[in-house]
Symmetry: C2
């Protein structure tokens, strides 16, 4: 039941499907680490905040932007265990769980369903569609989880797409202020649509847990470690344009629909929307478990899993191999990524306010 | 949340996926005609039987054994229109619909989701799993529809698989009584499991609408038109065994997990289970709209769409083309299918009884 006005602007492209070398399922360990470092906060959110008395006998959980696993299964398992622990502590009998795995309709749901854990203790369903529109009936979901999801904009800001504001670049972090502002405006609009849709779907007292890459206050947008990696794709594409393999115009018209927010910005957007209260906010380091030099090849495989579909759609699939070979061959690349760059995750646990309007 | 004991016996293989020449989506017009001839009875069932006051503000509908469209969308649209008509007549305001499309996990859900009608007025979800186990939380579904689904057994009867009871044949319709009885026993067990699972899932007063191929009383099992078509596959396989392309042992160990019931048999099974009351029963002719000679090629393409995955799994995929070429070349085949053969559909509208146990 997509809003036809909104969906006409969307061109959602999924993570790389299947289970091949460059698939998302084989190249999403960074996102998995994100789950590990946020697990404790997620437990805390459910333990403190979830209002069990308000929920029906079935607990319904949605993982938005689930892609094709295995991270989505880990995330869901964490949530279910936290709820079960809370039920046990309250002396309530066990409940049934229904889990909705959501991603865009072009996501590889066949691979997702084929790799469902055989011993899962929930009823699974796949939900195709953009999470910037409604996905579920009114007041039907108890917990929504979205990890590394809200960073994907519904579209590249239309001004950046139409005007030649971002020549030679594919992301806003090292671009002019007007490009960055257009990205921020798109993010603000998307977050508001996201929160309005979820406000309808989540029961009063239900939880919305958001995990997204961020830069803390005090860091300029050009000092985002993720932006640094995106710039590496951008310069490799420009090198290919200089070598006549693609055209500069193609690079100029290609921009990543991705946004790296700040904690303050997200707080303002949630408060302005006014449907949810912010109960927990944390900014963990997503790479806390491995303080070792960046594995350049692993990093570029992660980028490829996330962006191959977008790049192939714009430049043609023949470009993809060459592009990532160039990035891999740029051996000194990550030596420039020093401590002045920021890499944090923003975790927010939000609670649906009773009877608040939508903006 | 499959019952691990039950699921260990299952080897569910889907209809032919994608949208190619031999795909189910391009070769399921017979099943679509089945929807046309049962539409009126479905409307009648919803208009007379659905207890709107007992349902929540969202109407949840499941189409079990949905395969990959477009029939599942037509079936769901018919159901929704019938419910909307009932709401309008009662002067109730519109409700929201959530539709669950179910089939085995190996079903081509990617094709299913890619072809969702763009103007659908419901929240769609795909549910992977065998409908002989639980698929949904307790009391969470208002209407279940299963068309050409319950005819697929959860497995070939184990005695037929193990003993050499059915040599030279792949179906029971022209086999010995002991083979036919083993098939009937498997069907009885499957129907009971199916009804027990649905009894948990469907709200009291909710509807279960079943459409399945049948033969009426008075026809011997060898006089089923569908069985005749299956026998045509069986003899083509035996011809290939005689030509040394496959082995006779391969044919002897291959049996279709499919069952053609009779109205009386289904009535007995539903009554013995005791969770549902039979409210409507009809046996329409599925081919009422075309009284013309059988199109042999169309018929064999339908068989191929339904059975290619099973056949390729047992004999290897290289066999499939040759097999259906042989069937196509048997020009006089369908001239033997005269008026003494039966071709009816059985439509049952069942209502969940209040607080009845399960068997």
């Amino acid at each position: 039941m997509a809003d036809s006005k909104a969906s006409s602007l969307l061109k959602p492209l999924p993570m790389k499907g299947g289970d091949g070398t460059y698939s998302y399922s084989k190249n999403s360990t960074y996102q998995r680490e994100g789950l590990m470092v946020t697990k404790e906060a997620v437990n805390e959110a459910i333990s403190k905040l979830l209002d069990i008395s308000n929920t029906s006998s079935t607990i319904r959980i949605a993982d938005l932007g689930c892609s094709i696993g295995p991270n989505t299964y880990i995330a869901v398992q964490n949530l279910i265990e936290a709820v079960q622990k809370k039920y046990a502590l309250k002396g309530f009998s066990t409940t049934e769980f229904q889990v909705f795995f959501n991603d865009v309709a072009t996501n590889d749901f066949n691979t997702l369903f084929a790799s469902l854990p055989p011993e899962n203790h929930y009823f699974a369903a796949g939900v195709p569609g953009s999470f910037y529109s409604r996905l579920f009936p009114e007041s039907s979901i108890d917990i929504v989880h979205a990890s590394y999801a809200l960073c994907w904009l519904s579209q590249v800001p239309i001004e950046v797409e139409n005007k030649e504001w971002n020549r030679g670049k594919i992301f806003y972090s090292t671009s002019s202020d007007e490009v960055a502002e257009a990205y921020a405006a798109q993010f603000a609009k998307d977050v508001n649509n996201f929160l309005n849709a979820r406000a309808k779907e989540i029961v009063v007292g239900g939880l919305l847990i958001l995990v997204t890459p961020a830069i803390p206050q005090g860091f300029h947008r050009s000092k985002s470690a993720i932006g640094f990696a995106f710039d590496a794709i951008g310069s490799a594409l420009m090198d290919m344009a200089n070598d006549g393999i693609i055209s500069e115009a193609q690079v100029d018209s290609f921009n990543l629909p991705y946004y790296i927010t700040t904690p303050n910005e997200m707080v303002k957007l949630v408060e302005r929307n006014d449907c949810f209260s912010i109960e927990i906010m944390k900014t963990p380091d997503p790479f806390v478990s491995k303080n070792q030099p960046i594995n350049a090849k692993e990093n570029s495989d992660h980028l490829r899993a996330a962006f191959e579909c977008l790049i192939a759609d714009h430049f043609g699939s023949s470009v993809v191999d060459q592009l990532f070979e160039r990035i891999d061959q740029n051996e000194g690349l990550y030596s420039k990524l020093d401590a002045s760059y920021s890499k944090v995750l923003l975790l927010l646990a939000l609670k649906r306010k009773p009877s608040k309007g939508q903006n």
